[in-house]
């Protein structure tokens, strides 16, 4: 029975233990005074007397700061407001004068000079100029160029220092701005200096190599990482995270790797670039290759960082966290990788591929500072076609341009203006005007030559006096243009080709399976291209176009293709084989020799051949289908 008693004891013991736990413990807890609050880290306490706390600024103190006379800029430091006199620019626009360089100059410098001279901002007289450029030269003896004549304490001067040759400053910079290749972050003055890219010696003057990206998404099997090494080399590493991320950090097996000879471009999704300044050269290579730059704590300022949003094209990571960087790269969502890749290509093509682009971008940044409120919006800088091709003088509202409707959620204006070119005075083409005005979308008909101000609609229907179009052709073409506001939509086409025999470009008006140009004698396009045509093209090309009428068409097509990188669009045109051929296609099937020259001179002027061929035509959905005519909206298009 002893065990039974023991059991009862047990039972009683446990039961009382439970009672104690349930009842006494909470009482004990409450009996204990509140713990010292420092050990109760449950967030910031809600004070009883919150309402009674004083405000950080006493009433009256905030609005009534003691008045203070304006401070003069401190010695040594300069910023835009204090050191640049923009008043001269505001009246006469930005005019740039380059100080003549004494003595022999290198090829690289000659390119810089040539590209500035080709800019629309260039002027030959220092009195007229509001910005004076001074080319800092590398002189072997270590002595630097003397102070130029109109130095004026460096006011309104921009010292160009494209190839970093640390030249002991023999003269004080004074108030001059410095445009330097990959400046160190410590000496860079944001909003005043301009950070340039570190260009290789052999960078082309204009045109330039296009980006290497051939497809949007990374090709499967392409290595994840390429690592920048010395002398422009790249080493690709596999996706294995245990492979050593960068030089000198690990002595183990480096994983699969291959070393490229100097100068070639990396073929990988991400390019790791170490922090030191000479590695800035790798940065441009990666950009061109469409390899997303991963900058490890860069000690230098990224090029044009004032306007370019580099977070859209590169990743700035902390070099102290190699494995975190690797993990983040591996886990990066495909959507982000796609966006970054495409942005690298866009930036390369828009701002870096030639010396001319780099220099024009520099001037454009300074122009933007002068413009202030009506400068390029960030969207214009950071999305295709880029700020060099989207002129803020046209409009400050992105919705007015043909390029940004998607981003802005807007649509082009649903009406168009017809612009009829009449070469010689004579009978106005009444029949044509009637046909065009028959379109219910037609807002105005005008026959003035390039009447920029008078055109109020986004779309322009450009016509020749001889053109003959029907109302339904115009209606359908306009509808198509609304889907593609950045392209030219035309009826008659030409095609360009490489002429092996002549060793140059040629073009033909013969009907073919492909086309790359539409004739402006009957075409829809955005009115912005008028502004671009007049203001951004080099004068030489425009004179060329003025001399030969066919060149105007070619030049316009070159321009639009260079902006969009896409072919124009052809819509059906009924009468081409009946009456319109001879007057509409000057030169006939075999263009005149001057016209042939024209396309080659244009290609030289652009530095490359921007035209792109297309093999399709956009027709109405039921075009020439064997279905009832009553179903069809554009019946008259099919009449022979």
């Amino acid at each position: 029975m002893q065990s039974w008693r023991g059991k009862s004891l047990w039972l009683a013991l446990s039961a009382s233990w439970l009672l104690v736990l349930l009842r006494v413990f909470p009482l004990l807890r409450l009996a204990v005074p509140a713990r010292p609050w420092a050990s109760a880290p449950q967030g910031w306490p809600h004070w009883l007397d919150t309402e009674l706390l004083p405000s950080f600024s006493q009433p009256g103190e905030l609005p009534e700061d003691a008045p203070q006379p304006p401070q003069a800029p401190r010695g040594g430091g300069c910023d835009w407001g204090a050191c640049f006199d923009a008043s001269k620019c505001r009246t006469g626009g930005l005019k740039v004068f380059v100080h003549p360089v004494a003595g022999p100059i290198s090829a690289a410098h000659r390119k810089i000079l040539a590209s500035i001279e080709s800019s629309r901002y260039h002027t030959a007289s220092p009195e007229e100029a509001c910005l004076l450029l001074f080319l800092s030269l590398e002189v072997p003896a270590g002595e630097c160029s003397p102070v130029p004549q109109q130095w004026n304490g460096g006011r309104n001067h921009l010292v160009l220092d494209l190839h970093p040759a640390p030249c002991p400053q023999t003269f004080q910079l004074g108030r001059a701005m410095v445009a330097k290749a990959s400046p160190t972050a410590d000496t860079f003055r944001p909003g005043f200096d301009v950070a340039l890219p570190l260009l290789p010696e052999a960078h082309p003057l204009r045109g330039g190599a296009p980006g290497q990206l051939r497809q949007h998404s990374p090709h499967p099997g392409v290595p994840l990482l390429a690592l920048a090494e010395e002398r422009g080399r790249w080493r690709t590493a596999g996706t294995d995270p245990s492979a050593c991320p960068w030089d000198g950090r690990c002595e183990q097996d480096r994983g699969p790797e291959q070393t490229h000879p100097g100068g070639t471009l990396p073929n990988a999704t991400f390019c790791l670039i170490p922090s030191h300044r000479p590695d800035a050269l790798h940065f441009l290579q990666a950009l061109q290759a469409g390899c997303i730059p991963v900058l490890l704590s860069p000690r230098w300022e990224l090029p044009f960082s004032e306007v370019i949003d580099w977070t859209k094209a590169a990743i700035v990571a902390d070099e102290r966290l190699p494995f975190q960087v690797l993990a983040a790269l591996q886990e990066m969502p495909l959507t982000r990788v796609l966006a970054l890749r495409q942005q690298t290509q866009f930036l390369w093509d828009a701002y870096f591929s030639s010396v001319e682009k780099v220099m024009h971008t520099t001037l454009e940044i300074i122009q933007d500072r002068i413009f202030g409120a009506s400068a390029h919006a960030s969207l214009l800088w950071n999305s295709p076609p880029g700020a060099l091709l989207a002129l803020p003088t046209f409009s400050t509202s992105p919705s007015d341009f043909p390029f940004y409707h998607l981003q802005r959620g807007s649509r082009p204006v649903g009406r168009f203006s017809a612009l009829i070119w009449v070469g010689a005075p004579g009978q106005p083409p009444l029949k044509l005007i009637q046909a065009v005005a028959g379109s219910q979308n037609c807002a105005q008909v005008s026959d003035r030559f390039f009447p920029h101000r008078a055109i109020s609609t986004d779309a322009i229907l450009s016509l020749d006096g001889h053109s003959s179009v029907t109302t339904s052709e115009v209606d359908f073409a306009f509808l198509v243009w609304q889907s593609f506001p950045e392209r030219m939509v035309g009826f008659l086409t030409w095609n360009h080709f490489w002429d092996e025999a002549q060793g140059g470009w040629g073009y033909t008006a013969e009907r073919a399976n492909e086309f790359s140009m539409v004739l402006t004698s009957a075409a829809f396009y955005h009115r912005y291209y008028h502004t671009l045509f007049t203001h951004s093209l080099p004068k030489a090309l425009r004179t060329l176009a003025d001399e030969a009428p066919t060149c105007v068409d070619i030049l316009m097509n070159f321009l639009v293709a260079a902006v969009t990188k896409l072919p124009p669009i052809k819509v059906p045109y009924g009468k081409q084989h009946l009456e319109a051929t001879p007057p509409l296609v000057p030169g006939g099937p075999e263009p005149q020799p001057t016209a042939r020259d024209c396309i080659n001179q244009m290609a030289a002027g652009f530095g490359y051949m921007p035209l792109v061929s297309s093999r399709l035509r956009l027709d109405p959905v039921l075009f020439k289908d064997p279905v009832s005519v009553l179903r069809k909206k554009y019946r008259s298009l099919e009449k022979p």
Partner: protein, 863 residues
């Protein structure tokens, strides 16, 4: 290795027990390891509790790391600690009882074995006996054991006590009590927290006056002055932030203390209302942690918002004695009013070494780009005054100056402007004739006219924000709130959050030198841009200026973006107002790029069991010149695909993928086998498409790689009677969808379809076995904002010859189902993304009067 697991089960007193640990010295301390557990001695094998005694540090570390995977629950640890601590009970109650029982059981078994004549080894320990059964034949041996077990059952309590009903009740009661006890204990482990965070708050609420007082000796260390060359990669200890799956920094707030000097004089105001609000906001946010060892950023509770309310040297000393100060690394200070008379420095004068400074009123000379954060000066009026939003548009005054303390030189300039431009410019000043009172803050006067202060800002298009003694002005916040475009005239001022905010979109910055030209500068801004700026200004205020909380969270977000750049917010997320964000589309394939023709496309054929038709499709498709690979998705789990030898021989690689489930979504899965960007989805019964037609389709896709390029087109219509969307397959002049029975698209859309399809659309499609093509059309149109491209005249896939009876043969239920899909998807997407167009793509010379043999694509099929 010594296992002493039966240490306490020695019931034969004479035998005794000597643990190896009781020796004077271990023979080889580094290589002797002793184990013990409660499973035998206390019969608690289920608790998995054991101990290891070792002097070898390496072994201890190695075993300790194992604990990560074999951890003991808190409950068990607690119980075991309680149990083992009770030595009296163990020595006087438990062990004697246990030994007595073991002995009784042993005696009984030994007796039985002896009776059976089986040799055995019974020593005075443990609850087992070694029995030697080698001499018995095997059946017998089995019998002996069985008999023995039968006997135990009959004979009652021995080793395994058979429970009588009385005992059973007893045990059930005992166990339930123990269980209840365990549950109660467990609850006490966790209860206190919930009590504290809910009801106990009221108990713990204290007054600021009760906070602990800390005395700072006069000679306590002072931090160095701020280091101007600090950058994130030099002065910030990023290791503290570590890898974090959520990509959020952890912020710790020091507890509030009151600092006094040697004489008991306080160093500063304990805390201001705004700083308390700021710390509360951080504490309520996702960034907050109360674990100082896991924190990446430290926020002192020492209030330095206004430099005028503190003693500089002593405050610095207070900072230096913070427990994790470490030269200020990873510490964040908030300051809105820096500097003091007479020279008004633009950054906080308190020496702070490497600490980050979130300051209002930085100039470019003191601001450490990419390290400090420029914040606004909070305007108390934001909370005090209710100011409803006023839409953009022309306002009564073109330019307004509302600041009271303006340097006389500037006031002269402003008044000259007013004289020149009359009504359009209004320059306000302090009211001199008002009776004294707090309200004077909210009144402004021009001559004898009195205006209500923040309200008058809504009457102006542009408002001047002029520097005072300090660069940062609270008026900026009021101006933005009124939707008035600020004209910032303060040279070298770093605008608030300028690292991420695009101030060009919301303000005009004019150099001080150009003050007299300000009117003409502003006149050159086009009206549309002004309205845009007014909207943007108001949005900036709502998002980043409105409250102390908004300011604090924006500051932390900026620092967070620097530390986790891969997860940083984009320019658009920072700057675009919600209305723009909603309407805009960012096309994932925005780069105008025509892929090279050489790359070709991958055809994906979805099939179930129509092998014959499948083989015909394969043969037809393989004739297309640009085909680079053919992928057959075998969707039938019950049947194996035909043998390799039976497949048609084609010139490109052919791969068969077997799926785990018969789902329509399998067609849009991003298979690793797809190497080209272009994908042709094709059904296993589409045999009418000609090779020219397919090749032309691919050429069209190259020009429009971001669109769906397909053959028969379909349309969605709004049914005004039913008030919903309707699916239309009539041959109309418009197209908004293409069928994916045969369609080209970018392989990225496969990824989107599989992983990013909104809502439950994917499951819905699989459940209904229909509408996967409509879902794809919705997805692509939604993400790109562009219409489909219909290619060639093709109108339908089935029955190409019977065009005459179209419309009559339509399956009504099919149409109803498809309409249902459109309505369902439109509701999931929250909008109708499809775009209607009236064009299709044909070859350039299609149906032109031109020799057929010279055309590139002569054989374009019929309807």
């Amino acid at each position: 290795m010594v296992d002493e697991v039966y240490m306490l089960s020695v019931f034969e007193k004479s035998a005794g027990y000597h643990s190896v640990l009781s020796l004077e010295g271990l023979p080889d301390p580094q290589r002797t390891h002793v184990m013990w557990a409660t499973s035998k001695d206390f019969g608690m094998s289920g608790l998995r509790f054991g101990t290891l005694y070792t002097e070898n540090r390496d072994v201890a570390t190695a075993v300790a790391s194992l604990c990560r995977y074999h951890g003991l629950s808190g409950l068990v640890q607690y119980q075991m600690a309680q149990l083992l601590r009770d030595r009296d009970w163990i020595n006087q109650v438990y062990l004697p009882e246990n030994h007595a029982r073991l002995k009784a059981a042993h005696t009984y078994v030994a007796g039985e074995l002896r009776a059976l004549g089986i040799p055995f080894l019974g020593r005075g320990a443990g609850f087992f006996i070694w029995v030697d059964l080698r001499k018995e034949r095997e059946e017998e041996a089995a019998c002996v054991i069985m008999c023995a077990s039968v006997k135990y059952n009959i004979r009652g309590p021995a080793l395994i006590p058979r429970m009588k009903s009385k005992h059973r009740i007893y045990y059930i009661t005992l166990f339930s009590i123990v269980l209840l006890g365990l549950i109660a204990t467990g609850m006490f482990q966790f209860w206190p927290h919930s009590i504290e965070s809910s009801s106990d708050w009221s108990v713990e609420k204290r007054s600021v006056r009760d906070v602990p007082v800390v005395r700072l000796p006069a000679d306590s260390p002072i931090p160095e002055r701020g280091d101007l060359s600090c950058r994130m990669h030099t002065c910030f200890d990023v290791y503290r932030c570590g890898f974090n799956p959520k990509n959020k920094i952890k912020v710790y707030i020091y507890s509030l203390k009151k600092y006094v000097d040697d004489f008991g004089v306080p160093v500063s105001n304990t805390i201001s209302r705004e700083y308390n609000e700021l710390l509360t906001a951080i504490s309520d946010s996702d960034y907050y942690t109360d674990d100082i060892s896991r924190a990446c950023l430290f926020v002192p509770s020492i209030d330095v918002l206004n430099q005028n309310t503190l003693r500089i040297k002593e405050t610095a000393q207070a900072l230096a004695q913070l427990s994790r100060w470490d030269r200020g690394t990873n510490h964040l200070l908030f300051n809105m009013l820096p500097g003091g008379p007479p020279d008004y420095n633009t950054a906080l004068d308190v020496p702070r070494d490497r600490a980050l400074l979130a300051g209002g009123g930085f100039s470019t000379w003191t601001y450490r780009q990419g390290y400090d954060v420029s914040i606004p000066v909070y305007s108390p009026l934001s909370a005090e005054v209710d100011l409803p939003e006023k839409g953009p548009g022309p306002r009564r005054y073109f330019l307004l100056s509302s600041q009271m303390a303006v340097h006389p030189e500037y006031r002269e300039d402003l008044e000259a402007l007013q004289a020149r431009h009359g009504e359009a410019v209004l320059v306000l000043d302090k009211c001199t004739n008002l009776s004294e009172g707090v309200l004077s803050v909210r009144r402004r006067c021009h001559k004898h006219q009195v205006f209500d202060y923040p309200q008058v800002l809504q009457e102006a298009t542009f408002c001047v924000v002029l520097r005072g003694a300090r660069l940062g002005q609270a008026v900026l916040s009021d101006v933005l709130r009124a939707g008035c475009v600020p004209v910032v005239i303060a040279d070298s001022y770093v605008l608030p959050f300028s690292e991420v905010l695009d101030w060009k979109r919301a303000s005009v910055v004019v150099p001080e030198e150009k003050m007299s030209e300000v009117y003409s500068i502003l006149q050159s801004v086009p009206q549309r841009q002004i309205e845009e700026m007014q909207r943007q200004a108001r949005w900036f205020w709502e998002a980043y200026f409105q409250s102390i909380k908004a300011i604090a969270l924006a500051t932390l977000q900026i620092i967070n973006d620097r530390i986790y750049p891969y997860a940083a917010l984009s320019y658009e997320e920072w700057n675009d107002p919600p209305t723009v964000k909603r309407g805009s589309v960012s096309n994932p394939l925005f780069l105008p790029l025509i892929p090279p023709q050489s790359q070709g496309f991958t055809a994906i054929v979805l099939t179930y069991d129509r092998v014959e038709s499948l083989f015909r499709v394969i043969t037809e498709v393989s004739k297309v010149p640009s085909l680079s690979k053919l992928l057959v998705v075998w969707n039938n789990q019950n049947k194996n695909p035909p043998e390799d030898s039976l497949w048609p021989k084609i010139r490109v690689p052919l791969k068969v993928v077997r799926t785990a489930e018969n789902k329509l979504s399998n067609r849009f899965f991003p298979y690793d086998e797809i190497e080209t960007e272009a994908v042709l989805a094709i059904d296993d019964d589409i045999i009418m498409l000609t090779s020219d037609e397919l090749q032309f389709g691919y050429e069209v896709w190259r020009e429009f790689p971001d669109r769906l390029v397909g053959y028969p087109g379909r349309l969605h219509l709004w049914d005004h009677e039913m008030n919903k969307w309707k699916y239309e397959s009539e041959w109309t002049n418009e197209v908004s969808m293409v069928l994916t029975g045969a369609a080209f698209y970018h392989k990225y859309f496969n990824y989107l379809y599989t992983y990013k399809m909104p809502g439950d659309i994917k499951n819905w499609v699989d459940a209904h076995m229909n509408c996967e093509d409509i879902a794809m059309n919705f997805l692509v149109a939604n993400v790109t904002g562009k219409a489909v491209i219909k290619v060639t005249p093709r109108k339908k896939f089935k029955c190409p010859e019977c065009t005459a009876i179209d419309g009559l043969s339509l399956d009504q239920t099919h149409m109803v189902e498809r309409s249902e899909c459109i309505n369902k998807f439109a509701s999931v997407f929250g909008t109708m993304p499809l775009k209607v167009v009236e064009h299709r793509a044909d070859p350039v010379l299609y149906k032109d009067d031109f020799p057929e043999k010279l055309k590139s694509f002569p054989n374009i099929g019929s309807l």
